[in-house]
């Protein structure tokens, strides 16, 4: 009787140890999974940000907007782009949309030339709105980079290329 009771106790002990071991390993795996998930999330976020920066530079250097010398925005080209037919612009808008871009605008930072929005025939203004689809999107985050904005000027019969300090702002849809 005594031996049977001892054996039962041993089996119970072993069962408890096993349950404990399973719980212990389960917890370790749970911690590992949470840690991995957080790592993957941060990696995805980092990749997304890197992609955004790359896209921002790609937009600055698009031949549709860039100067001959590059790394600057040609204001006359931007106006030339805005003056394209609606059908031609729509093709670009669709591509921007597919790349989760909701806003592209170029702002003059210095010198201050007022707050006027640049339309198709003036260079004396602040903002060129190349694409704006923010009204249709619930949330977006905007990233910007400083750039030169260059245009031709005619002073006393002399033509010159003048560059102002500006920034290009690109809004990206925030992934859900």
């Amino acid at each position: 009787m005594k031996a049977r009771a001892r054996a039962q106790l041993q089996i119970q002990e072993m069962a408890f140890v096993l349950v404990g071991l399973i719980l212990f390993f389960g917890l370790i795996m749970l911690f590992f999974a949470v840690f991995q998930q957080a790592k993957i999330k941060s990696l995805a976020e980092q990749t997304r940000r890197e992609e955004i920066v790359a896209k921002l530079h790609s937009i600055v250097n698009m031949p549709e907007f860039a100067c001959r010398e590059a790394f600057c925005i040609d204001e006359e080209k931007v106006l030339g782009f805005l003056a394209l037919s609606q059908q031609q612009k729509q093709k670009y808008y669709e591509k921007f949309d597919k790349q989760y871009i909701v806003l592209i605008k170029v702002e003059r930072v210095w010198p201050d030339r007022g707050n006027a929005k640049c339309d198709t025939n003036t260079l004396n203004c602040k903002t060129y709105e190349i694409y704006n689809n923010t009204a249709k999107k619930s949330s977006y985050e905007a990233h910007s980079t400083f750039t030169l904005m260059c245009h031709h000027t005619l002073t006393n019969g002399q033509v010159a290329i003048v560059c102002d300090v500006g920034k290009i702002v690109v809004g990206f849809e925030v992934p859900k």
């Binding site: 031949p63 590059a70 591509k95 597919k98 031709h152």
Partner: protein, 327 residues
């Protein structure tokens, strides 16, 4: 006495039974543990292998594509090494209507593509890639600047090539292919000699080889065709290395973009106050119609006509004073 002995023996036997049961039990439990551990690790490995493959392919592609496009018209040409994971199949597609290059990747063991990436604003010229082990491929890019900066196509080398080309072209290829020795395929410059076995031979005009670059006299040898692939300027390189379908599709995309850029420059020309831009506007209009003509009837005559419009426009722009140049 006998009864006492048998009771003792019975107890001993029970004891030994109990200890052997404990051994068997612990072995079974151990085996179950090992099996579960092995099972979960392999499952986890399988689950993580696919995203890892996707991530490697994607990062490889973005390393290849993004810097080239970001640098834009500043850089003349540049080469890069592209790394692909083992047992991967990568296909490069192109869509004219959507105006994008498509990159599709999957494991060689699977049928469905786990990674499909559309690259807008990119022009990738490459044949499909199948890897066995971890493999490196050579890629290079050259900005298209005739008559103005249009785009920077990316070319991936998916074969061994042996060149017997004019001096200038060979020198240009030698200059960009410095890093090719780190990759799976090689370039060989035969200098008129025989090509090594397993190499695709590339030559110009009169020679005999697998890929022959034909140039047309109407454009002074600066335009021509490779099979059914028509080229001018630096488009000769994509024409050598890319599949016909990918090439034709990307060529149409490039022509469409060139036409839109011509429209932008037309609008810009009208805004250049104080500048006498001469007949640039007329030349831009002529370029647009030559592009349409070439798109609708791709042949030697329309190509020569287009090339001549390109050079005429370049010359007209070059003749303008620095502050009045349109592009």
């Amino acid at each position: 006495m006998v009864r006492l002995m048998s009771a003792k023996a019975e107890r001993k036997a029970r004891k030994s039974q109990l200890s052997s049961f404990a051994w068997i039990f612990s072995i079974i439990v151990g085996a179950v543990f090992f099996f579960l551990a092995f099972f979960f690790v392999t499952q986890y490995g399988k689950k993580t292998a696919e995203p890892q493959r996707e991530a490697i392919v994607e990062s490889g592609i973005s390393v290849l594509v993004e810097p080239f496009s970001a640098i834009g018209s500043l850089v003349e040409a540049q080469g890069s090494v592209l790394e692909f994971p083992p047992e991967t199949y990568v296909e490069f597609g192109c869509n004219v209507d959507g105006d994008y290059s498509e990159i599709k990747a999957r494991s060689t063991k699977e049928r469905t593509f786990s990674l499909i990436k559309k690259a807008y604003d990119k022009y990738i010229f490459s044949s499909a890639i199948t890897t066995k082990g971890k493999e490196n491929y050579f890629a290079f890019s050259m900005p298209l600047k005739d008559p103005f900066y249009i785009a920077t196509p990316v070319i991936i080398v998916t074969n061994n090539y042996c060149f017997s080309l004019p001096y200038e072209m060979e020198e240009e290829l030698k200059a960009i292919s410095e890093k090719i020795n780190l990759t799976k395929y090689r370039f060989n410059f035969s200098d008129g000699g025989r090509c090594p076995e397993g190499y695709v031979s590339v030559c110009a005009d009169t020679s005999v080889c697998y890929i022959k670059i034909n140039s047309l006299p109407g454009c002074g040898g600066k335009c021509g065709f490779v099979g059914n692939k028509f080229w001018w300027g630096d488009l000769v390189y994509p024409a050598i290395f890319a599949d016909e379908t990918v090439y034709q599709c990307n060529l149409k995309r490039i022509l469409e973009r060139m036409k839109t850029l011509a429209d932008i420059y037309l609008n810009k020309t009208a805004m250049l106050e104080g500048c006498n831009t001469g007949d640039i506007s007329a030349k831009l209009e002529e370029l647009k119609s030559a592009i349409d003509n070439f798109k609708n009837h791709m042949n030697g005559n329309t190509l020569v006509l287009l090339y001549n419009k390109i050079t005429a426009l370049e010359a007209a722009n070059e003749a303008l004073p620095k502050e009045c140049k349109v592009f």
